[in-house]
Symmetry: C2
Subunit: 194 residues, 2 copies
């Protein structure tokens, strides 16, 4: 059976982070649900840089099923909206309690996880601007991606692809990660100018 | 005055590539227009991995103004749909004739530029699967990004961020590129496991 992943998004979510997670997990065959956290009924959100993305469903419809992974994108005010969502908090607490995978990138480790005490037993990272508010057991400020058991955190748009591939590895194993990353062309040489 | 960039998208466009170009150019203050290439009137496209993105307008409404840059994302069948668009072909030929910036990534250098003879005087790259059909003056198969005068090409999702930052550098200069790339966190260390 396919692994399942929940990706909550809101107005002001960082587009590269949200889309890279969704795209890469789907390349791995993970059953990805993109869930809108909205005050209204609309499934459409406008990202931090003005791009309109349509979610698969409302987060309110995602609370009664188990998820193999919940991965939270950053962006301001996207991560603030996600932090305000009580259904998302309940879902994340369930992941932590059940030892299942939970992940966040950029502003989200501090704003969505740390602010709720969900990093107090974890070594974690986040965007340099939000590292001092991480409220983790220990901050790793250097690494692109930090994996501490079932908790995966990362720093920002420039680390989103490594983060997404790490999610694939944790959900589906190293062989699947390599199968996904190979056609994405990660190992090319530096830019050439003529 | 702001620089202007046209990003055409279609059903089956590669989401990471399209979104990274849009996001990064907007971070640089470029006036980005996301234009749908659709048979119908809808501005909504469904990307290669099922994500619904809403364009700013139809490409049909973009043909009567000048663009500082046209950048074409890859993805299958997205790049095929873009290759079939006569308005896009006219716009790209205008860029070439006027010596203005034109760019493509992944399947798009071969399918959208090479197939129309627009790379015959250029050194270029593209996705490894499409390099043999590139029809360029010379193939550079190694580099993440290739800049030959006003033509910028790149290989795939894993090189999309470097490609987008190169577009910023070509449009707005190196200082702006560094201003944009710094908070995106590109220079962090390898993944840490605990």
């Amino acid at each position: 059976m396919s692994k399942t992943a929940l990706i909550p998004i809101a107005d002001g979510s960082e587009e590269i982070e949200a889309v890279t997670i969704i795209d890469v997990l789907r390349r791995a065959g993970v059953e990805v649900t993109v869930a809108a956290v909205n005050s209204g009924k609309s499934l459409q959100i406008r990202g931090a840089h003005g791009l309109e993305i349509t979610a698969d469903c409302s987060l309110d419809n995602c609370t009664d099923k188990p998820w193999d992974l919940i991965a939270v994108p950053g962006g301001i005010p996207g991560a603030e909206h996600l932090a305000d969502s009580q259904p998302l908090e309940i879902l994340l607490r369930t992941q932590v309690q059940q030892g299942k995978l939970f992940a966040a990138i950029c502003a989200a480790p501090a704003l969505v996880l740390g602010s709720k005490g969900l990093l107090q037993e974890k070594i974690a990272t986040g965007h340099p601007m939000f590292q001092q508010n991480l409220d983790a057991k220990e901050l790793n400020s250097e690494s692109r991606v930090v994996v501490d058991g079932n908790c995966i955190t990362s720093q920002g748009p420039g680390t989103a692809l490594d983060f997404a591939l790490e999610l694939v590895e944790q959900l589906c194993g190293l062989v699947k990660r390599e199968e996904v990353s190979s056609p994405m062309v990660l190992t090319t040489s530096a830019t050439a100018y003529y």
